[in-house]
């Protein structure tokens, strides 16, 4: 498989590490006052940490370019054909960061 890293260009997949489904979003960090968290947070984290769909087809995935620029990438890939539809850098990847001044 070949992955076109937005920073490094097309590289072979041995340079990358796979993490998994990019759909689940981590519940936000909350302010803790004396130990109490947000209501329903246990269920939300259970979903985030453990529940995954078993895709046959296109899914978006996290990949890490550890053998290159150390960017985290979000890749749309077909798990049946290994065709890659798109590769984009995670919001905080690279030098120019969203939100940073």
């Amino acid at each position: 498989m070949r992955i076109a890293c937005p920073f490094c260009g097309e590289r072979e997949n041995g340079e990358f590490t796979y993490l998994g489904d990019a759909k689940p979003k981590r519940p936000a960090m909350v302010a803790i006052d004396g130990g109490a968290g947000a209501p329903g947070e246990a269920e939300a984290f259970y979903d985030y940490v453990y529940l995954r769909d078993n895709f046959a087809g296109e899914m978006s995935e996290y990949w890490y370019h550890g053998g290159g620029c150390r960017s985290w990438l979000v890749i749309e890939r077909n798990t049946l054909t290994h065709d890659i539809k798109s590769v984009r850098a995670a919001p905080g990847a690279g030098a120019a960061k969203a939100g940073a001044k």
Binding site: M1, A42, F45, V49, R70
Partner: protein
């Protein structure tokens, strides 16, 4: 004395008659010529019997002249370089080549195992499943060894391969697989447009069937055209021709696997050169011009030595000037087979007869028969007469009901051609049946791949040239190359006609798969027993499962099955094609990654100095770390380690700790970032201070620990354990880039940039004062415990100094750029001499951390929570952090969890062992009474006995309790006392002193 080349033709062939090469086959000396393969040299020397078959030990001869050869497999070379199952048809002859036939005992001519032929009723399809079912215990002791001895191929040498192998990458626009007429036309068309072209050819020579079939192209003899085409390709800077290179697989994203047999044609590779090179070729487009493979016809005796594929006969005659016989008969169902008669006739070989299964004879062939003076029979061969060393004649059943006998010493057979659909089917493409050519052609090829020429079912020379040109041009123009491709080379021959004939019923065995000894009756048996699907047929009969992967048998096998089941061939279908298309040695896949180069090695900055001192090293991940430093007179590790520990605890010692992961965390939000990833607070850490931190995974289990220092308002220096340096870096980047991109923070791994030494013991300051500039205040007030500062060294260099302690002693860690690590080790040794300094290794480090109850990898084992490790109180109640929510789950906070405690044998002389299970005193041993286990042990010189840490259920409530350490692995069972994990200096006064 070498035998004469009795079957060498007087002229012709692409061989160098001025370069004779001597070789041996089964110990018999012979002569061949440069340009020969082992097979062609054997043919030239009149050798017909070359091996015994796999199951029945039937005598076998050379069947083909190419990589699809099922019979002529030999053990090539001797000693450590012996290579089993080498195809004689592709092994290039070299001077001094030695080859042995396989699968025979005691000799090729007299093989006692040929008795298997008489036992053939038990070796039929499915015999593995039927014959040896019962009793099961007989399998291992009786059946398997007997079968393995009776049925097998070559022997491995059993000695390490002395040669080396390489891996390499190549990139191109258009990869052309095969350099026959189609491949050459494709490479020329694409190359002329300016596209970067790689032309890969498995053979030593480019040209494919042009080297065997001749013909006329663009008005000149094929050989002349070939030379011109190659000269043009070689002159194009954007074209690379790779011979001896077989493309064996298609992988995702246009990556192709190819094996270059760099030096297989030499007895020993030249110094510094590999035997083989594994290529990964990245190509935007691929033209498969891999040709086709001629298929046998199944009839009684079709495996007798002397029965040969018609195209192979042509190759031996034309390319190698070697005559497979003196009187040739041809059995064919198509026009192409007739070319063999023409070639043999031209070479002066007598033609006995042509047996053509088709009714109508073309005008051209009729004329040929007349001029050659031979008979043409409309019929089929029903038996082949002869002995184990060859054919004496054939018996024919005529279409008109009569029969005929013909004397001949070689029978050429042609059942038509199967396009090479292997590569085009590697992404689960299912080839499509074409009735007009009675063959499968590519369908559903991987993206960017085209097939051309015979590989696509276009068998005539003119069609090969035209479709090759079109495919090469299409591939290049698809990529935007606009250069002039010129005209397709032209030839004037016509398409061949075929009328399918797969199988002639006969009284004796007719072979479908020669290498695995699968006969037509095996297929019939599989059908009778319900194994009709091609995938079942394959497994039940082992059809196509030998090293040739059924290259000349699969299609015939499924065609016979389709006749038996009265289904069409497309309905019967093909099995799935998978890489590798040709066998690839494991050594080629491994490349240089073997022995000491299996993985990379990381050396600490003080490694060479430690090696000079005779340190014993231990592998920790990729690192080599000094384990202990023996001195004269010390013969066992424990003596050395005890000395190192005692010297540190009473004086001073130092240890290279550079392997710990180091990460610079910088930016205005660095503190906020660390607050989120550590369970304890870091934003509030003062500049110039260090703090021990613990990280959890999202599921609430401990991930890693380490000391992190604040060097400036916006600069933290984070350390990880040695093992987790990489994973923690990757995880922190995930947090930064994916989870919280709004934080202004950057991470840089600097593990390799800093050499760091722990200096520990009551005399640490004495030593440091010899190293550090006298102006620096190292007193408790000037440099308190957990303080961090950059200091000036004597001589003006700067270093970072951290007052942290893993040993529990008064200690500092000093950090200098890695290139000064070696000098620092030497300086510490020299400066510490008056104080009796010793270097200490990872063993002493481990002893001191266990004496102090510090956790390490054995306790941070992916199952423990912060509280299990006795660090639950570190979990902040004032801020959120990764793992907080999940760490609060019921099971992770249950009171009966196994927690870290100290353990010491009640019998002080006893050795404690890691892995021993903790069982309550008086309880029976079993999973229900198992309450934990010993995680880390050491011999403590301070306590004068073995001590350890363990994870024990409710352990902290049970200090003082005596429990059983049960160790079934080592057969030990003894009592231990649960105690405080901090064995030494529990008040911690020494490190603060």
């Amino acid at each position: 004395m070498a035998s004469a080349q009795s079957n060498r033709l007087a002229k012709g062939g692409l061989i160098d008659r001025n370069a004779p090469l001597s070789f041996t086959f089964d110990g018999k000396a012979m002569i061949g010529y440069a340009g020969d393969t082992l097979a062609s040299a054997l043919v030239a020397n009149g050798v017909t019997l070359v091996g015994r078959s796999f199951k029945y030990h039937r005598p076998r001869g050379i069947l083909t002249a190419g990589p699809e050869e099922p019979n002529a497999l030999v053990e090539l070379r001797s000693g450590a370089r012996r290579e089993a199952n080498t195809k004689a048809t592709t092994a290039e002859l070299y001077d001094g080549l030695d080859a042995l036939s396989q699968n025979r005992w005691p000799s090729l001519g007299f093989d006692v195992m040929s008795v298997n032929s008489l036992l053939s009723p038990i070796f039929v399809a499915g015999f593995y499943y039927k014959t040896f079912m019962w009793p099961a215990k007989f399998w291992e002791k009786l059946y398997e060894p007997a079968i393995r001895r009776a049925a097998g191929l070559g022997r491995t040498s059993g000695i390490a391969d002395p040669d080396h192998y390489e891996k390499a990458w190549a990139h191109c626009d258009v990869l052309v697989v095969g350099s026959g007429p189609a491949g050459l036309a494709a490479a020329l068309a694409a190359g002329r447009t300016g596209a970067r072209v790689i032309l890969a050819e498995e053979d030593r020579l480019a040209g494919g069937r042009l080297n065997s079939d001749g013909g006329e192209i663009d008005g000149m003899p094929a050989g002349e055209w070939l030379a011109g085409a190659l000269a043009e390709l070689e002159a194009l800077p954007n074209v690379r021709i790779m011979t001896r290179t077989a493309v064996f697989g298609v992988y995702d994203g246009g990556t192709y696997g190819a094996l270059e047999r760099v030096n297989d044609h030499l007895p020993v590779p030249p110094v510094h050169q590999p035997r083989q090179r594994l290529w990964r070729i990245v190509a935007k487009r691929c033209v498969v011009a891999a040709g086709a493979i001629e298929r046998p016809i199944v009839f009684s005796g079709n495996d007798r030595p002397g029965v040969m594929m018609a195209s192979a006969v042509r190759t031996y005659v034309e390319r190698f000037a070697a005559a497979p016989g003196k009187r040739l008969a041809l059995f064919t169902n198509n026009d192409d087979g007739w070319k063999t008669v023409e070639a043999a006739h031209r070479a002066g070989i007598e033609i006995a007869a042509v047996i053509d299964s088709r009714k109508d004879l073309s005008q051209h062939h009729r004329a040929l028969a007349q001029s050659g003076g031979f008979a043409v029979h409309n019929g089929v061969v029903v038996d082949v007469k002869g002995g184990k060393t060859g054919v004496s004649g054939v018996e024919i059943a005529l279409a008109n009901g009569g029969s005929a006998q013909i004397a001949a010493d070689v029978l050429a057979m042609s059942g038509g051609w199967n396009p090479s659909v292997g590569l085009s089917s590697h992404h689960r493409g299912r080839p499509k049946w074409r009735e007009d050519i009675a063959a499968f052609v590519p369908e559903g090829a991987p993206a960017g791949m085209l097939s051309a020429g015979a590989a696509n079912g276009d068998f005539s020379l003119s069609a090969c040239l035209r479709t090759g040109h079109e495919a090469g041009l299409a591939a290049a123009s698809d990529l935007g190359f606009k250069g002039r491709a010129g005209k397709a080379p032209a030839a004037s021959d016509e398409a061949i006609s075929i009328s399918p004939l797969w199988h002639v019923e006969g009284r004796k065995k007719g072979f479908v798969d020669f290498q695995h000894d699968v006969t037509a009756s095996d297929i019939a048996l599989a059908q009778r027993e319900g194994f009709e699907s091609v995938e079942h047929l394959k497994r039940y009969t082992t059809l196509g499962m030998a090293t040739d992967q059924g290259k000349n048998s699969n299609v015939t096998g499924l065609a016979i099955m389709s006749e038996l089941t009265r289904r069409s061939i497309p309905q019967t279908g093909t099995t799935i094609y998978r890489p590798p298309h040709v066998p690839v040695a494991i050594g080629a896949f491994a490349g240089h990654h073997r022995d000491e180069n299996f993985h990379s090695v990381r050396l600490t900055p003080s490694h060479h100095w430690a090696a000079e001192r005779g340190a014993v090293f231990v592998d920790t991940g990729l690192w080599k770390r000094a384990q202990w430093y023996p001195i004269a007179g010390e013969n066992d590790w424990l003596t050395s380690v005890n000395r190192e520990v005692l010297t540190v605890r009473n004086g001073v010692g130092f240890c290279d700790v550079s392997t710990l992961g180091k990460i610079d965390v910088m930016g205005k939000d660095a503190g906020a970032f660390l607050d989120r990833v550590y369970i304890n607070a870091f934003a509030s850490l003062a500049v110039g201070k260090a703090r021990y931190g613990l990280m959890l995974r999202e599921d609430g289990i401990v991930m890693d620990d380490g000391t992190t220092s604040r060097l400036a308002e916006d600069h933290y220096f984070l350390t990880t354990t040695t093992a987790k340096a990489g994973p923690v870096m990757q995880y922190l980047e995930f947090c930064r880039q994916v989870l919280w991109p709004e934080l202004d923070v950057q991470l840089t791994s600097c593990t390799d940039q800093w050499a760091q030494f722990s200096i520990a013991g009551p005399k640490t300051r004495d030593l440091l004062r010899e190293i550090v500039d006298p102006a620096e205040d190292l007193s408790n007030e000037g440099f308190p415990f957990m303080g961090v500062r950059e200091v000036r060294l004597r001589g003006g260099m700067f270093a970072r100094l951290f007052r942290i302690s893993f040993s529990g002693e008064m200690a500092f860690e000093i950090s200098v750029p890695a290139r000064y690590g070696d000098a620092m080790a030497r300086n510490l040794m020299k400066a510490g001499e008056p104080f009796g300094v010793v270097p200490y290794g990872t063993e002493a480090l481990g002893v001191m951390r266990i004496e102090k109850g510090h956790i390490a990898g054995a306790e941070l084992n992916g199952t423990t929570t912060a509280d299990d490790l006795g660090l639950g109180k570190m979990m902040s109640k004032k801020k959120d952090f990764v793992g907080r929510v999940m760490a609060g789950r019921e099971a992770l906070t249950a009171p009966d969890r196994q927690v870290v405690v100290g353990l010491k044998p009640v019998d002080k002389a006893r050795r404690l062992r890691s892995g021993a299970h903790i069982i309550p005193k008086g309880a029976a041993v079993g999973p229900d009474t198992d309450q934990g286990y010993v995680t880390s042990v050491c011999h403590s010189p301070m306590l004068g006995q073995w001590i350890g840490l363990g994870l024990v259920e409710r352990g902290r409530e049970r200090i003082g309790e005596i429990v059983r350490a049960h160790d079934p692995l080592r057969g030990e069972d003894y009592y231990v006392e649960i105690c405080n994990p901090v064995f030494y200096d529990p008040e911690g006064g020494r490190q603060r002193g």
